[in-house]
Point group: C2
Amino acid sequence: MLHSHNDPPAAVEAGGLSRYSEQKRRQILQAAFRLFLRHGFEATTMDAIAREADVSKATVYAHAKNKQELFAGIVAGRAALIYGSVELQGAESAAPEDALSRFARHFIQLILSPEAQGIYRLVVAEAPRNPELGRIFFEQGPRAVTQRLAAILEAQVRTGHLNVDDPLAAAQEFLGMLHGKFHLPCVLGVAGQPPVEELERAAERVVRTFLKVYGSMR
Amino acid sequence: MLHSHNDPPAAVEAGGLSRYSEQKRRQILQAAFRLFLRHGFEATTMDAIAREADVSKATVYAHAKNKQELFAGIVAGRAALIYGSVELQGAESAAPEDALSRFARHFIQLILSPEAQGIYRLVVAEAPRNPELGRIFFEQGPRAVTQRLAAILEAQVRTGHLNVDDPLAAAQEFLGMLHGKFHLPCVLGVAGQPPVEELERAAERVVRTFLKVYGSMR
DNA sequence: GTCTATATGAAGATAGAC
DNA sequence: GTCTATCTTCATATAGAC
């Protein structure tokens, strides 16, 4: 069996982990994530992860207690990263059309990105057998985004730019509409990745619809 | 190993299948569906299906070519059944508030039913490795419902009760909003099954929001 | 920490008797 | 069609050397 030559572990450094180990750790996490995305949790084997990461299986087990923990750690971590990236700078002070537009464009591209779709599939599939994973994903992902949007809406209400009775409910309507046209067909592989212009058009339409309901200057 | 006593197959009847065989077929399909819902595709074994159906594994293979086909057949069949049940009688002629209300209440209870949620998880999880399954589910399920709703909206536009520019887009907005508050948390197991009254309130809110945008008498 | 080698158990699928 | 028994492959996880 081929594998790269192995230097002996370097001396342990400040953090308590050798450089060597850190690199293997990254290899393992990346390989595992790639394979989980491609084959799902059950169909991904520890053998395949070791092969893809170019380490031995025993090394994989040295870095992760078992397959479950490897999986949950990776997926939760990536989900938080991705959903945390929704850009909201200055959204409270901008004109509502602009704030909502920017938010909508970011969000729709986020949820249609291949990585976000892959994570969505994994979490939806495994949540019943791994409730903690479902909880972490939901709270750090969709729920966090919803709450941030609700906060923006509330700020816009205070400045008189919007007229929203229930910011949380309105935020859920807004995000629901943004899923509308593309999310499910893409997740199911029925539609390919839509071109950016089409996404922007869809986002703009949702913003216009939303402002017809909650815009305060009509 | 325990199993029920086996009578020899009864004489073949009109349809070409013995009663005996039809019963085992039902046992197998039901058992497989239960297990797929509970454990997902990969983690469900043919051994377990045979055990749960109280037949031998060879009998399972006599009724289904392999695990893939057993799975796809069951899931697609149940999905079509469930989504086909959305009640739309007379929706074109009723007042738009009533038509949309009835539709919304049915739809939101449909997508939150345990069986629909289970199928959703299975299809989302396996669609990348089984594109045909994703396509069939989408077309017979969500897409069919969306188109029926769009047709209702169009009829309401013709009678002057609604003012919708793009019935398909509006239908997608409506259905997206109906997913909004409950669908994801329930699919992820973060929230339990909400009580019916709460679902009705949520449905009513969406209808009101929708009519603020597309109602023609304001 | 990292490797090779292996223990242990199941998986999907089929053979062959009835 | 249905069973029991089995083939073959491969899974998760660990032991033991370095």
